[in-house]
């Protein structure tokens, strides 16, 4: 009898992620692809690339059950089910780190904080989806000012000797503030640390809303930004727990866990 595989596809605004689990729940493939304009194209690309990593799985059409998530989840029309990214991030995190009780999911276009119960279910959530400040897009804009890639920007902020506060919370105003700080010949690493601090403060207020409880972790692409993790750790006065898998695929992993539960 052929092996059963279960898929999760997280169609984000910046990247598409796909995860495939086997019938024992082991992750056999994961992939991240840049988002296309059409979310359906993104999902097909991510899933096909993930399937190519699994011997014996020719196409996503052969998946026993597929769950779509992310902002473009409704465009994954071929999925068996769509589940909100909030539930998927909660489930994905719980599946790899059951001790986590609080998640900060920093995606390309929004920030969410999620509080979990002991079984990976969502207790509360808060989101900032009305402005770009504090999101992946914000970091992209900031690193552009420094003429750096995101990882270089992150590394730069870690070298700061002091933090120059960036007061503006709006992406557009922050951009002009950072430009003027650079023009005044302030050390770039200190300004970069100020940017990380500003975003962390924003996350902190969202965390307060849901009643932050240890352990706290960060998911989404921005979790790879070590400068941000350092600043957040300081502001929440608590360790940010690292995850044993790529934090960017957590949403897709949660979707795949749901798929396995429903399709098994």
């Amino acid at each position: 009898m052929a092996k059963k595989y279960f898929g999760g596809c997280d169609v984000g605004s910046t990247t598409g992620k796909a995860v495939i689990l086997d019938e024992n729940g082991a992750m056999v493939a994961s992939i991240i692809v840049p988002s296309e304009i059409d979310p359906e194209v993104t999902s097909v690309q991510a899933l096909e690339k993930a399937c190519a990593l699994v011997p014996g799985l020719a196409s996503y059409k052969d998946l026993s059950y597929l769950v779509g998530t992310g902002y473009g989840r409704n465009e994954v029309v071929f999925a068996n089910e769509n589940i909100s990214e909030i539930s998927c991030h909660a489930m994905g995190t719980f599946s790899v780190a059951p001790s986590i009780k609080t998640i900060v999911d920093i995606g390309g276009q929004d920030v969410k904080t999620i509080s979990l119960d002991g079984e990976g279910a969502v207790l509360e959530f808060a989101m900032n989806d009305k402005c770009a400040a504090g999101t992946g897009r914000f970091f992209e804009a900031m690193s552009r000012i420094f003429r750096m890639e995101l990882d270089e920007f992150s590394a730069l902020s870690l070298k700061a000797k002091k933090v120059i506060p960036v007061t503006a919370q709006c992406s557009v105003f922050a951009e002009s503030e950072v430009i003027s700080l650079l023009a005044k010949r302030n050390p770039p690493e200190d300004i970069a640390a100020g940017i990380q601090q500003a975003v962390s403060k924003r996350c902190f207020s969202l965390l307060k809303r849901i009643g932050m409880r240890p352990q706290v972790t960060v998911t989404g692409g921005c979790a790879k930004n070590q400068g941000l993790i350092k600043a957040l750790t300081k502001i929440i006065d608590m360790e940010v727990a690292p995850l044993p898998v790529d934090p960017q695929i957590i949403g897709a992993l949660g979707a795949a866990v749901f798929a396995r539960r429903k399709g098994a």
Binding site: S84, S87, A121, V122, L123, E124, K208, I210, G211
Partner: protein
């Protein structure tokens, strides 16, 4: 031939698309969509009665004052055209609901429509005895003095219910005139209507320091614009005490003396007694209604409960028509309760809405009901629980009215310690066996915003699911309807794990 058929199909689709508003709001559209003859009969009855009442006003005006009077009225108050959508509102609310709940909704919209017609009648015939009455100042007093009270904020509330974007021109006008853009959009709408001279001027203004700074501040602009004498009531910050009640009752007495000086009104204490008795009867009936809707599933809910209070307790308290409406509403609820018939067959969840209602998106209740089986049992504006007014003497009546106002919604919730706000919510959760609390997080309400953090912590401790739904009271540009729906979806899907009814 194939091409002709395809073209015809395209034309048909286009026609249907362009007339979808008509089909959604018209009697014809309702009748086509209706699958229940009894419901259709009820709808047609109230549809006709409402039109009859409107036509009576129009014909009366033409016959008594001539067609020019009617034209003048429409030119001065162009929002009357929006009011003509009232049967469309009834259509929006009643469609998809059946039985007694359907009838209660039709009855409620109709009763409000008739009361609005009465208000228009007052504008047409009694401007010389009309006063501008702030919504939290008890209009019972004006009624007892033979004055016509125009509740300043009421059209700002009612118009977006009929047409979501109705208040925008007024909000913009107020902001352009210098009213703080961060202020609540309700006083902004009221000020905008005054700036455009779309509110009857009357002869005097009675206002107060309730419920918030924006509301109180707006009356400075209104007074400046209309150049009318104004009396401002002073509601104490701490009011659960004898001294505060006495202070407010004395203030009401001073307001009566002031009105006698500045208007043709004269206090008739017997008339006030009648009004207070009517108010007491309404209260009695409302308490009976609340008692009935505690049953699970509820025999009535949603807009029938909420809109009834919104209009009748604030604009026409104690009026025989308002009493009659509550008697009929209670009768309908009792009928359902006795038959074991729920308001909606699909009741799965029960919630209350805290803070001011979604005026420009009342349809959200029906959507939640039909998507998740969620019924809105009651709301904070309706939840005015208090003792009946003692009608023994003028003093006791004023004391009773003072208590009703000071301990009533908005006033109680924006004054004193946080408990004044929180206790009612948790009392409601118990009383109505709720599954969750919805907070209408009006972004223009600073007091409400300040309470959210405390409320979150309390709900968390009591394990009550809480949805804090961002929106603006009157302005759908701040948070769109789509966004509001999405917030509910996120909450229901992720926190409540609620399956949709169609799943």
């Amino acid at each position: 031939m194939k091409d002709v058929l395809a073209d015809a199909r395209l034309v048909l689709v286009k026609v249907l698309d362009e007339t979808k508003g008509f089909w959604r709001h018209s009697l014809a559209g309702y009748l086509i969509a209706s699958r229940n003859l009894i419901d259709a009969r009820v709808f047609v009855k109230y549809w006709a009665l409402t039109w009859l009442s409107i036509l009576k006003l129009i014909l009366g005006l033409i016959l008594r004052r001539g067609p020019l009077a009617l034209i003048r009225l429409l030119v001065h108050y162009p929002w009357i055209f929006i009011l003509l959508r009232v049967n469309g509102l009834m259509n929006r609310m009643a469609r998809g609901r059946t039985g007694i709940f359907h009838e209660a909704l039709c009855l409620t919209v109709h009763s409000i429509a008739v009361a609005v017609v009465d208000q228009l009648h007052d504008i047409a015939y009694h401007l010389e005895s009309m006063i501008i009455n702030e919504d939290l100042v008890p209009s019972d007093i004006a009624g007892a003095m033979g004055l016509k009270a125009w509740i300043m904020e009421i059209m700002g509330i009612m118009l977006p219910i009929l047409k979501p974007e109705a208040d925008l021109q007024y909000i913009d006008a107020a902001e352009n005139a210098g009213l703080n853009p961060d202020a609540c959009s309700l006083p902004k709408a009221a000020v905008g209507m005054v700036l455009k001279r779309h509110i009857p001027k009357g002869v005097a203004i009675v206002s107060s320091n309730m419920p918030c700074d924006a509301g109180a501040g707006s009356y400075a602009m209104i007074q400046r614009e209309y150049r009318l004498p104004i009396y401002r009531l002073d509601a104490p910050f701490h009011f659960y005490n004898e001294r505060a009640e006495q202070h407010f009752a004395r203030d009401l007495m001073a307001m009566i003396a002031w009105l006698e000086e500045h208007t043709p009104g004269r206090m008739d204490w017997d008339r006030l007694r009648e009004i207070c008795r009517g108010r007491n009867r309404m209260l009695e009936l409302e308490l009976e209604l609340w008692d009935m809707i505690r049953a699970r599933p509820a025999p009535l809910a949603g807009e029938a409960v909420i809109l009834s209070h919104l209009w009748h307790f604030n604009v026409t308290p104690g009026h025989p028509k308002a009493v009659n409406h509550y008697e009929r509403l209670v009768k309908l609820a009792r009928k359902n309760l006795e038959k074991g018939e729920p308001a909606t067959k699909h009741e799965r969840y029960r919630a209350v809405l805290w803070n001011p209602p979604f005026c420009h998106f009342v349809d959200l209740f029906k959507w939640a009901e039909q998507t998740y089986g969620l019924i809105m049992i009651n709301d904070s504006m309706t939840y005015n629980h208090h003792a009946p007014i003692d009608t023994t003497s003028p003093e006791t009546m004023l004391r009773g009215l003072s208590r009703t106002i000071l301990q009533g919604p908005m006033v109680r919730h924006t004054r004193g310690p946080a408990e004044n706000y929180l206790d009612d919510i948790f009392r409601m959760v118990k009383q109505f066996d709720l599954d969750m609390v919805w907070v209408a997080n009006h972004v223009g309400c600073k007091t409400g915003q300040a309470m959210n953090g405390i409320l979150r912590e309390k709900c968390r401790a009591k394990k009550i699911p809480l949805l804090i739904l961002d929106y603006d009271l009157m302005d759908p540009r701040i948070v769109s309807h789509d966004n509001m729906v999405r917030q509910v979806e996120f909450f229901m899907d992720n926190v409540m794990k609620a399956p949709r009814l169609n799943q």
